[in-house]
């Protein structure tokens, strides 16, 4: 997979561009090694309120509150955190029709060195399919920034969570 990037942007810069294009102004994060540079960019942006949280499920709650306060919320997370967020995504976001952009480092896929990442790596798309939560995956010829802003547009229009899944290969050009 070699997604075409926006101009000469690095993977982190292209995702950040998409976040800015979508006018996301509230972000919670739980780190992943692949998200390090992106989290720094978000932290330094004066127009984004960034709050590190302790756990992804907690982040779903904080983002729901931010949406109710008029913000455009996103969560930066690793796919392992999907496992602890499912009840909140269903009984908060799906129940009340609350949008959320999830920017996810997808571990446990091709190129993964840590065996413990593999089970959730393989379950991630199945869990999203089961929950009817749409997800975007970068492909050849897709612009990652466009993909991110389209994901937010869909979340906002359908009033539901939408994920962007960014696999190990995507981050290789950092």
């Amino acid at each position: 997979m070699s997604p075409s990037l926006s101009g000469d942007l690095t993977p982190s810069e292209s995702i950040f561009k998409g976040i800015k294009d979508a006018e996301i102004d509230f972000i919670v994060s739980v780190p992943c090694a692949n998200l390090g540079k992106l989290i720094n960019m978000v932290e330094e942006d004066p127009d984004i309120l960034h709050l590190p949280v302790t756990r992804e499920e907690e982040g779903v709650g904080v983002c729901a509150g931010a949406y109710m306060g008029g913000k455009r919320p996103a969560m930066l997370m690793q796919n392992s955190g999907l496992g602890n967020s499912i009840n909140a995504l269903a009984s908060l976001n799906m129940l009340y029709k609350i949008p959320l952009l999830m920017v996810i480092s997808h571990r446990g896929v091709l190129g993964e060195p840590i065996v413990a990442q593999v089970p959730m790596g393989e379950l991630t798309t199945k869990l999203f399919d089961t929950m009817d939560i749409p997800y975007f995956i970068p492909e050849k010829d897709t612009d990652p920034a466009d993909m991110v802003s389209k994901a937010w547009e869909l979340a906002s229009e359908k009033k539901m969570p939408v994920a962007v899944l960014l696999p190990i290969q995507f981050w290789r050009k950092q």
Binding site: P52, T54, M68, G70, K71
Partner: protein, 184 residues
């Protein structure tokens, strides 16, 4: 005192300060709805543990509004990281009231860890919150609420529920009328 007594005091505070009020899952929501249904009440019907997190997101997004969350001991124990996250920002407009009746009130009053050795006020302080109060009567709660707009109040209460009926409103209605106020 029981949870319902705390809810009565919190409702008075909410009205006096025109606050946004987030209510915890289960009987707390029903009791608040029964005591005083207002558009600025958000009834969290699912997602156990996240009332304090929703309130935090609201408070950070609307620094011009006061935000109060009614939470419970069982729910805070389920999302204890929330106390650390709140401590990391401590918004001046955010007040978290934890009604600690030492029981999972909505599921039959099974004892929680606070019925044994856990002290939530100490946990909140240890997590780094500077404004933590502990009260055990309606009078001291009222007194504290009259002078405090932010931080965490742990209300030591007895277990016990009223027979407040189920909320008839749909989730869509609850959030729409709430956001007519909260998202302006």
């Amino acid at each position: 005192m029981k949870r319902i007594d705390a809810i009565n005091e919190i409702v008075s505070k909410t009205k006096a300060t025109d606050a946004l009020l987030v209510a915890n899952i289960g009987i707390p929501c029903k009791e608040l709805h029964h005591v005083c249904d207002m558009p600025n009440n958000f009834y969290m019907l699912g997602s156990m543990g996240l009332a304090s997190s929703i309130g935090l997101g609201l408070a950070l997004s609307r620094p011009d509004k006061k935000v109060i969350t009614i939470d419970g001991d069982g729910s805070v124990l389920m999302n204890m990281g929330t106390l650390a996250t709140i401590a990391s920002v401590q918004p001046e407009n955010y007040l978290l009231v934890i009604v600690d009746n030492r029981a999972y009130g909505s599921t039959g009053n099974q004892p929680t860890a606070t019925s044994k050795n856990t002290d939530l006020a100490e946990v909140a302080k240890g997590a780094g919150n500077n404004e933590v109060y502990e009260v055990d009567t309606s009078e001291t709660l009222r007194e504290t609420l009259s002078s405090v707009d932010n931080g965490i109040i742990v209300v030591k209460a007895e277990p016990g529920n009223t027979d407040a009926p189920v909320i008839g409103m749909s989730p869509e209605t609850i959030i729409k009328r709430f956001m007519d106020i909260s998202a302006l």
